[in-house]
């Protein structure tokens, strides 16, 4: 493939340089204005969806209007919700081949190395540009194993009863104001069903791209894992630089049946103008397992707290949260584990890095309900502060109603001192190189288990983050 690809990626000096400033591109439909019934009806109409979905959206709208802004949300006040375009369909048909994409989309994807990664490591990919899927590729492995992977809109038409059974079941719209907003406006995203006992070897990736400012992206990912199945699902996101902000309020619902295993990895590298709100939750049945790896690197503000509901006996989860705030940005992240059954186990690990006036906040919750005997949870929060201006706050919360359960908690805070920096610099490393080495070492353990290619891309992103050219921006 000419131009782009992983080799190119290895040579660039900053991510801003890679994607540059947002350029204009043809857009087929742009819906903006007050969030009210007319707008919701219009979105539902252009998406030609079944009536039950239209009614669901309207219910969500009512909730959005009723619910207060959550107390824990800081910094969202500067968003004027009436300024945003809630539905943007770029002038691009959904295609199955990279070559059939319009040149301006292809250029972005090539710069990010997506076609090469897909060709080499993935069993399927779904890419959302603004509000709609523009590329959907399924490889032989998925077809031959009977795995269903289709855009969610298509799943609504093809498997209405199935989607109806799971959609909105894991993450209720009443959870908070922005969950309700998501359901009212959702568009784009992928539906995956892995049949019982099917083990998918190569990961599936979903990639989200926001192409212009003052835009909202509300994609919805729904994954249902049949009994004893396994899958690694990877999410990536990116955007070029804008003058103003854009808003992302995506949702992930995972339903993991008995004995199934799902790894869900997110590498979030939005540009500095994105306000990123994530709603991620899994329900895990008996002996099922979910591993979240949430790496929050980019964006202006990020709120994400992947949650595992351990519903069946022996269900397990591991929740790894990596957050980097380098510059005047906020990462308000964490994880939650809700133990509803006996012998359920959770491990929550948070690694946060802050510098250059960056703020990281860890918010975690472990709830062990009465009767969840023999359950254990371990929470570990490690913060690394790279200078005198970075800040890290930790708010872990335990609600243990079952006396025969055990919750343990460890927290460490490390600060990169002048002498450590000098030591590394005296060996010939620049300040940025020294910091990226330390950061990569700090998160080394939690990156284990990721495909090597992703580790190397992530390492590169982190190196750029702290290089003299990149970061801060």
């Amino acid at each position: 493939m000419a131009g782009g690809g992983l080799e190119e990626l290895a040579k660039i000096k900053s991510f801003d340089e890679l994607l540059g400033i947002a350029s204009t591109y043809p857009r087929e439909i742009v819906l903006r204005g007050r969030i009210e019934r007319g707008l919701i009806e219009e979105i539902s109409r252009v998406k030609k969806e079944p009536d039950w979905m239209r009614r669901l959206r309207l219910r969500a709208l009512e909730l959005f209007e009723k619910l207060p802004t959550p107390k824990w949300v800081i910094g969202l006040d500067e968003i004027d919700l009436e300024e945003i375009a809630y539905y943007v369909k770029p002038l691009a048909d959904r295609v199955e081949s990279w070559d059939d994409l319009p040149q301006w989309i292809k250029d972005y994807y090539k710069k990010l190395g997506l076609p090469e990664i897909e060709a080499r490591f993935l069993s399927g990919i779904n890419t959302v540009f603004d509000s709609e899927t523009v590329l959907h590729r399924v490889k032989e492995e998925l077809r031959s194993k009977g795995v269903v992977m289709i855009p969610l809109e298509e799943a609504l038409r093809k498997y209405p009863e199935f989607v109806k059974e799971y959609f909105g079941r894991v993450f209720p719209m009443s959870d908070h104001k922005f969950a309700a907003l998501h359901y009212a406006l959702w568009s784009g995203g992928v539906f995956v069903y892995v049949p019982p006992s099917v083990r998918v070897e190569q990961p599936i990736e979903a990639f989200f791209f926001v192409g212009s400012e003052l835009e909202g992206q509300f994609e919805h990912t729904l994954i249902v894992m049949g009994e004893g199945s396994s899958l690694h699902f990877i999410e990536g996101c990116s955007a070029p630089m804008f003058k103003k902000y854009s808003f992302h309020d995506g949702m992930v619902e995972l339903y993991v049946h008995r004995g199934a295993e799902l790894k869900f990895t997110t590498v979030q590298n939005w540009s500095r103008n994105i306000v990123n709100f994530n709603n991620k939750r899994a329900i895990i049945e008996e002996n099922g397992y979910v591993e979240w790896l949430e790496a929050s690197i980019g964006s202006k503000l990020t709120y994400t707290y992947p949650t595992s509901i351990l519903k069946g006996r022996g269900a397990r989860t591991r929740n790894i949260n990596v957050a980097i705030s380098n510059g005047p940005f906020i990462k308000d992240t964490g994880g939650k584990a809700i133990h509803l059954a006996p012998n359920t186990h959770s491990i929550l690990v948070s690694k946060s890095i802050s510098s250059n006036r960056g703020l990281t906040v860890y918010r975690g919750l472990v709830r062990i309900t009465r009767g969840a005997i023999g359950s254990t949870s371990h929470v570990q929060c490690d913060s690394l502060i790279l200078d005198n201006t970075g800040k890290a706050y930790t708010y872990p919360r335990n609600e243990v109603e079952e006396p025969e359960a055990e919750v343990t908690h460890e927290a460490t805070t490390g600060r990169l001192g002048e002498d450590q920096l000098f030591y590394l610099q005296s060996r010939g490393l620049s300040e940025g190189e020294a910091k990226s080495l330390i950061v990569l070492g700090f998160i080394r353990d939690v990156l284990q288990g990721l495909p090597l290619e992703y580790v190397s891309v992530l390492s590169k992103v982190i190196e750029l983050e702290f290089s003299e050219y990149g970061g801060v921006g």
């Binding site: 450590q420 000098f422 610099q425 010939g428 190189e433 080495l437 190196e463």
Partner: protein, 248 residues
């Protein structure tokens, strides 16, 4: 052309306290020069200043490497110009494995942009070879820099880095302190190896013990931030007999 310190006056940034007060000193290529003095005489401050520690402010004078002033340069630039400081008490750096630090420092010198890439497999062979010569357990290479290292292991790790990076001038700040006799001999041999490669060595030491194994061609004595005497090896022998009290 040598490493030269010319009329150097240094104070601690913010405090104003002068710690190096008009020092002149010179280390030629392939030469071992000893800088001796009692505790608190400013030897380490001088070493830090030569390497560019931000806590030390050059008030006047100059530091010149092979004819070029380095006073305005950052520590990494000084390092890439061929200076190396072996720390007296090297800090723990959590998150960075010793082997990765050495590879990254080496890659910087050969212009390899991917800092952790082993582009030259010989480097691993070299690291293992010198670790073995220095008596540094190989598992320490895969531990975070200095974390859980004993005092002696830290000294050996500093020498290992010097041997791999092959600097033009090394400043070794008490490389012998806290070592037993065998340890001192190992460090002395490593210093001799550096010298034989034509590296200039500024050997800072409090005691004369290591000077039994490495013979400096010149000896400076520093007290209260000033060079109070200089001479040949016989000066070290005199200090061995009489101590520093005559200068105070």
């Amino acid at each position: 052309m040598p490493l030269q310190v010319r009329d150097l006056v240094v104070r601690i940034r913010g405090l104003g306290k002068v710690v190096v007060d008009g020092v002149n000193l010179e280390v030629g290529k392939g030469e071992i020069v000893a800088l001796m003095g009692p505790n608190g005489s400013g030897k380490s401050s001088l070493a830090y200043t030569i390497m560019g520690h931000p806590r030390y402010e050059v008030v006047s004078g100059d530091i010149v490497v092979d004819g070029e002033s380095i006073v305005g340069l950052s520590p990494e630039e000084r390092s890439l110009k061929g200076l190396f400081l072996g720390f007296q008490n090297p800090v723990e750096v959590e998150g960075v494995k010793l082997s990765n630090l050495i590879i990254a420092s080496y890659n910087k010198r050969i212009g390899e942009r991917d800092l952790l890439k082993t582009s030259n497999p010989r480097i691993i062979v070299e690291i293992n070879k010198y670790a073995s010569i220095l008596g540094l357990r190989r598992e320490l290479l895969y531990r975070d820099v200095n974390v859980g290292f004993s005092g002696g292991e830290r000294k050996r790790s500093e020498m290992l880095q010097a041997l791999i990076l092959n600097p033009r001038y090394v400043i070794l700040d008490e490389p012998d302190s806290g070592l037993d006799v065998d340890g001192v001999k190992v460090i002395a041999n490593a210093i001799e190896t550096l010298r034989s490669r034509n590296t200039g060595v500024l050997l800072i030491t409090h005691y004369t013990r290591i000077l039994r194994y490495v013979k400096p061609s010149r000896v400076y004595v520093m007290v209260n931030g000033r060079i109070v005497e200089k001479g040949g090896y016989e000066l070290a022998e005199k200090i061995d007999r009489e101590g520093y009290s005559v200068y105070q």
